[in-house]
Structures are given as structure tokens and as C-alpha cells.
């Protein structure tokens, strides 16, 4: 399926979901002429219509381009290739791991995990050097934030945070 058809349908679905979410907004006596749902209602309708238009245009382009598909090169505007979806999702998973580790064991432990795991995921072989760098990095960040900038970081529920 043409990329624009897929993305257009997703955009339209987001618009409809947003409109559905409006049902949960209550009106109050403080409501003005437009109300808290007035503009969001227009936004939802607008997004749903825009999504459908993108999908329709995608369908039109796909139908016109069909005979030329074999000869035409892959349509890709990017000069650099993006990471495959599984890779991006896994990278994102490392961030989720950081959130869980920070909640459980605090910032320094989570920082060590994130630095070591990300570097390994990106191609560095696990080694003593990597472990030292991860510890130094996480402690270094903690010193900058907590000691230099005076900003508190997660302590972790295991340590009474």
C-alpha cells in the first residue's frame, strides 16, 4: 500500500479518536461562548478530513504510478537511510528500561544501565572499558546535575525514593 494511504488513514484515525475523547470533557458554568470543546472539535474534524484527503491523494498517486513502478526508482527523499523500525523500537525500549531502572534503583544505576546497554546495542562489545565508562559517565552526570546544578534526580524506591 502507498505510504500516503497508510499514513493518511492513521492521521484520520487519530482525528476520530480525538473527537471521541471530547466526550469526556464536561461543560461547567464557567464555560464561555465557545466552551472548552469548541476549538478541539474543529481540530478533530480538521485532522480527520486532512487524513482522509492525504489517503485519497495517495490512492490517486498510486493508481497513476502503477504502470511506471517497474521502471521508477524507490521514492525516497531522504539522503540518509533511516534505521529499520525494529531497531528504532529497540532503541526506544532502552529508554523505557531507563525509566523503570530509575524508578526502582535510582538515577546512577539507571544511567549505568542506559549507557552500557545503548553503547552495546549500537555496536560496542561488552568489556571492562565499557563498564568503567558507563560508571564514570553516570556518576559524572549525577555530579553535574545534583552537586553543580542543585537539581534532584530519582533516588529509586529501593533506596527510599
Amino acid at each position: 500500500m502507498h505510504k500516503d494511504i497508510q499514513s493518511g488513514l492513521v492521521v484520520a484515525a487519530v482525528g476520530f479518536l480525538y473527537l471521541w475523547g471530547l466526550r469526556g470533557i464536561s461543560e461547567t458554568t464557567l464555560s464561555d461562548e465557545v466552551g472548552p470543546t469548541g476549538i478541539p472539535y474543529l481540530l478533530g474534524i480538521g485532522l480527520a478530513l486532512t487524513g482522509l484527503l492525504i489517503a485519497a491523494r495517495g490512492a490517486l498517486v498510486a493508481r497513476k504510478a502503477q504502470p511506471a513502478v517497474a521502471a521508477a526508482p524507490a521514492p525516497d527523499d531522504d539522503e540518509e537511510a533511516d534505521a529499520p523500525a525494529w531497531r528504532a523500537m529497540s532503541f526506544l525500549g532502552l529508554g523505557v528500561l531507563f525509566i523503570g531502572a530509575a524508578w526502582l534503583a535510582g538515577y546512577v544505576a539507571a544511567g549505568i544501565v542506559l549507557l552500557a546497554a545503548t553503547a552495546t546495542f549500537e555496536g560496542i562489545r561488552p568489556s571492562a572499558r565499557l563498564a568503567v565508562l558507563a560508571v564514570v559517565g553516570a556518576v559524572g552526570f549525577w555530579i553535574v546535575f545534583v552537586k553543580l546544578l542543585g537539581i534532584d534526580l530519582p533516588h529509586g524506591v529501593l533506596f527510599g525514593g
Partner: protein
């Protein structure tokens, strides 16, 4: 005289100079990292500015912008890979000079032209911003609403060929801005019972998600690009060379100012346009593409001028014309500073600090640019996996510091995923950022206007400023639609066999 004294006092009494130098250093390093644009470099430090004094924070961000524009030319000249989009035109002659063993000279010309461009842009910024912002003194709610719509209409020129996709991105941005407590009725919207969402999603989170996290996701697994271990010593141009560079630099400055003022113009367009014009007006056009000094000077002067000139519509009316200007707007909003005439009246010290700090950063650029070169080379040569890991931790730590909430990290990661998908499907980022920033302005002022008129839309026609903005917005949109249609026809004609 009084202003000069105030500037000197600011220099002595506040940490403006360290902020400008730190920002410059960070900007040069960030700009020198291929794939890390000026806006990403700025958005990485944005969360850190949260706890800072507003003036210091804004100077830091502006200095990062100035530094990143120069930093982008380092890999452009050394490895034919522009560090930032706006350094793409520098590749042509900069890399050719490097191949001829003149890398130091090319870097020196880039640095010198960048300083000239930044100084010119700064003069324009100081001269034009306040007079323009005075217009906004006569603004009523209808004018602000119409201004917001005009700001949103620039999505047409930022949509990279698809107005519909730009519109969708802007609408999603506006939807994000509706999350949280409605400021007029006090009702909570789209919070789903989650207390962390009551205060809404801050623009800074959207910017970091789209510019930084999505870029990390996109580049995951990409190969390292090393500058090599060769040591390069920057050679600043001598007097004769400086004289030769005046014309291309002037062309760059003028082009950069015009493009900076135009929403969506951006440094890369200015750089390529000035390169073309410099070649046209040069006494040695045959040297272009073969290591021409003028071919390096013009685009570098242009993209550095854009860095300052793009702040003119931002500070005057609150309309960011580029990703980097949008991040700077995020910095202003974090500290409760609203661009426009009130910024000049109520926070004159911040504006004066911005001018002074930018001047310090521009002048210091020469010394810092030379001194930081070895450090920059060392850092840029680190393996990419380590850089990715440290940047990831930096992003997540910075976001946590905004509200001290792990929930915010989840929002930013989700936003990064959305940004990754947007990029993959060809949806532009800047309209989404504009939607988040301008959405509340449009909504709240529209509702205030309706309260004033009792729901009568004709109140907009009674306000000449609002009418002016609305007409401009319609003209801008029509022109963009016509341009998109014209480009589509041209593409179709190219495809058809003769």
C-alpha cells in the same frame, strides 16, 4: 550612552560571558557532529536552562545557535559531510580546498565570514526588532488570534512539498496544546485522570521529542563518521584576503537577512542562494567548485546572518521561522517570557542581555573557534555508539529536571516515536512545533474575542490589524497552494516523455 553603560554593567555583574562561551563551545561541538543540527544541539541544552536566570538561559541558547552555524562547516570542509543543513553549500568549495591541502585556510575563511555574518545579523536584529514589536502595542485579542493564524499559515512554506502533511502536523501540534486544564473554564481536557497531564505537555518536551529523540532513533545503527586524526591549524585570512572576501560576505549578509526575515527561509536556502549570487558577481567565477575562497565565504556569512535575522520575527511577534528559532522560543516560554512589545518593556534587561551576550559570543567565536578545534576533532572522532549513549542519557536527564517526573520521560519517548514515524512518512516537524506554541494563543484569544462580542464573528472585521493579518495569511496560503500546484505540474511534465 545609557544603553552602553547598561550593557557593560550586564557584562560585569552577570554571568553573561561564561554563558556565551559555554554556549558557543557546545554549539561548535554539536554543529560539528554530522547529523546533529543546530536545533538538536539547542534542544539538548534546553532542559538545563530551566533552573537558570532567564537572561543567562537565553544568552546560552543564542550562543549555541551561533556556535552551531560555524561548527557545521568543520565536517563540511574536512570530510565533505555538512554538520548542519545550512553548511551544505560550504561543502562544494570547502572540501575542494581541503583536498588541495588548504583545510586550515578554508576553516579560517569560514570562521571569519561567520563572524562577519553574525555581526551583520546582530545589527539588523537590534535595529529592526523593537520598531517592529511596537506595532504589537495596539493588539487586541482579535489581533493576537489573527497573528497566531498568520503564524500557522507559514506551515505552507515549511511543509516540504505537501501542504496537507504540514497541515496535519500543525493540527496534531494544536491538539497536543489542548491537553491539560483549560485556562478559561478550568475544565481538564484529555488528561484521562492522569495528574501528571494536568499542566499539559510543555512545548520543550515536543521539541526535544521531535528534534533530539527522533533523530537518535533514526540514526540508530548508522556508521561512525570520523574526521580522521590529522591535525588542522586554522589560518585566518590576511588583509588582502579580507578585502577580497568583502563582496561575497556582503552578498551573504544581505541574502541571510532577507531569508532570516522570511518564515521558513532558513540557513540552507540562504547559503545556496548566496553561493549562486557570489559566483555571478565574482571576478573569478571559474574558481567556483574548484576551491574558491569566495565560495566558502558567501554561504558561511549567509547562514550566520540567518541565525540572528531569524530572531527578528521571533522577538517582535513570537513567530519562529526556523527550527532553531522555535527552540529559542521554547527557552523564552520556559521562563514565562512572551515575545512582543511587552518583552521590551517588562524584560528589557533580558533583551539587552541577549544582544550583549550574542555580541560577546560572536566576537569570542574567533578565539574559541581556534582553541576548541583539537577538542572538537577529538570528540567528533569518538565512536558513534558512545556518543549516542551519552546523548541519550543527556536528553532523558534533562527532561526529568523540568518537572522532576519520570512520567515526562515517557511522554518524550512516545513523542520521539511519533517523530520517527513522521519523518518516515514525510511529515514535517516545524508545523507541529508551531501548532503546540501558537495553538494556545489562537484558542485563548479567539475565545476572548467571542466573549467580547457575544459570539459575533464580525468583531474580527472591526479590528484593522486582525483584518490585515488574516488577509496576509490567506495570501500566503494561496501563494503556497499555487506554488505546490505549479511544482506538481512541473513534475508531471518532466515524467512524461517528450
Amino acid at each position: 550612552m545609557d544603553t552602553l553603560l547598561k550593557c557593560l554593567t550586564l557584562l560585569v555583574a552577570t554571568p553573561l560571558v561564561p554563558a556565551a562561551i559555554i554556549g558557543l563551545v557546545w554549539g561548535i561541538i554539536g554543529g560539528a557532529l554530522p547529523g546533529i543540527s543546530a536545533s538538536v544541539t539547542m534542544s539538548l541544552v534546553l532542559p538545563f536552562t530551566y533552573a537558570m536566570d532567564p537572561m543567562v538561559a537565553i544568552v546560552l541558547l543564542a550562543s549555541v545557535y551561533i556556535g552551531a552555524e560555524y561548527g557545521g562547516s568543520i565536517p563540511a570542509i574536512l570530510i565533505r559531510t555538512p554538520g548542519t543543513n545550512s553548511a551544505a553549500a560550504t561543502v562544494v568549495d570547502g572540501y575542494e580546498m581541503k583536498r588541495q591541502g588548504r583545510a586550515g585556510e578554508a576553516l579560517g575563511i569560514s570562521l571569519w565570514s561567520g563572524v562577519i555574518g553574525s555581526l551583520f545579523g546582530l545589527v539588523m536584529l537590534i535595529g529592526l526588532t523593537e520598531p517592529l514589536s511596537r506595532i504589537a502595542l495596539a493588539f487586541k485579542p482579535m489581533s493576537y488570534c489573527a497573528l497566531g493564524l498568520l503564524g500557522l499559515s507559514i506551515i505552507a512554506s515549511l511543509s516540504g512539498g505537501s501542504l496537507l502533511k504540514g497541515l496535519a502536523a500543525a493540527l496534531v501540534g494544536m491538539m497536543v496544546s489542548t491537553i491539560g486544564i483549560d485556562p478559561i473554564s478550568g475544565v481538564d481536557r484529555f488528561t484521562f485522570g492522569q495528574p501528571d497531564l494536568l499542566n499539559g505537555v510543555k512545548p520543550i518536551m515536543v521539541m526535544v521529542s521531535l528534534f533530539a529523540v527522533s533523530e537518535l532513533l533514526r540514526q540508530s545503527g548508522s556508521k561512525s563518521v570520523a574526521l580522521g586524526q590529522q591535525s588542522v591549524r586554522i589560518t585566518l585570512p590576511n588583509l588582502a584576503m579580507m578585502r577580497r572576501l568583502i563582496k561575497p560576505q556582503f552578498i551573504g549578509c544581505i541574502t541571510g537577512t532577507v531569508e532570516g526575515l522570511m518564515p521558513g527561509g532558513g540557513g540552507s536556502i540562504a547559503a545556496f542562494f548566496s553561493y549562486n549570487e557570489a559566483k555571478r558577481w565574482s571576478k573569478h567565477p571559474e574558481e567556483f567548485g574548484k576551491g574558491s575562497v569566495e565560495g566558502v565565504a558567501a554561504p558561511e556569512a549567509a547562514n550566520n546572518t540567518v541565525a540572528s535575522a531569524s530572531l527578528i520575527p521571533l522577538l517582535s511577534f513570537g513567530i519562529p521561522g526556523s527550527n532553531s528559532a522555535a527552540v529559542l522560543l521554547g527557552g523564552l516560554l520556559i521562563h514565562g517570557l512572551l515575545p512582543g512589545p511587552r518583552l521590551f518593556e517588562q524584560n528589557a534587561d533580558v533583551v539587552l542581555g541577549l544582544y550583549t551576550g550574542s555580541l560577546v559570543a560572536t566576537i569570542a567565536q574567533i578565539a574559541v573557534g581556534i582553541v576548541i578545534m583539537p577538542v572538537c576533532m577529538w570528540l567528533v572522532n569518538r565512536p558513534r555508539p558512545y556518543l549516542a549513549a551519552f546523548i541519550y542519557l543527556l536528553v532523558l536527564s534533562g527532561i526529568y529536571t523540568i518537572n522532576g517526573s519520570l512520567f515526562d520521560l515517557g511522554i518524550v519517548l512516545f513523542g520521539g516515536l511519533v517523530g520517527f514515524l513522521m519523518k518516515a512518512f514525510g511529515y514535517p516537524f516545524l508545523p507541529a512545533v508551531l501548532g503546540v506554541v501558537l495553538g494556545p494563543i489562537v484558542e485563548s484569544n479567539y475565545r476572548r474575542s467571542m466573549l467580547l462580542s457575544g459570539g459575533d464573528l464580525s468583531i474580527f472585521l472591526d479590528d484593522p490589524i486582525a483584518v490585515g493579518f488574516l488577509i496576509t495569511a490567506v495570501l500566503f496560503l494561496s501563494w503556497s497552494l499555487w506554488r505546490e500546484w505549479r511544482d506538481a505540474v512541473a513534475r508531471r511534465t518532466e515524467v512524461k516523455p517528450a
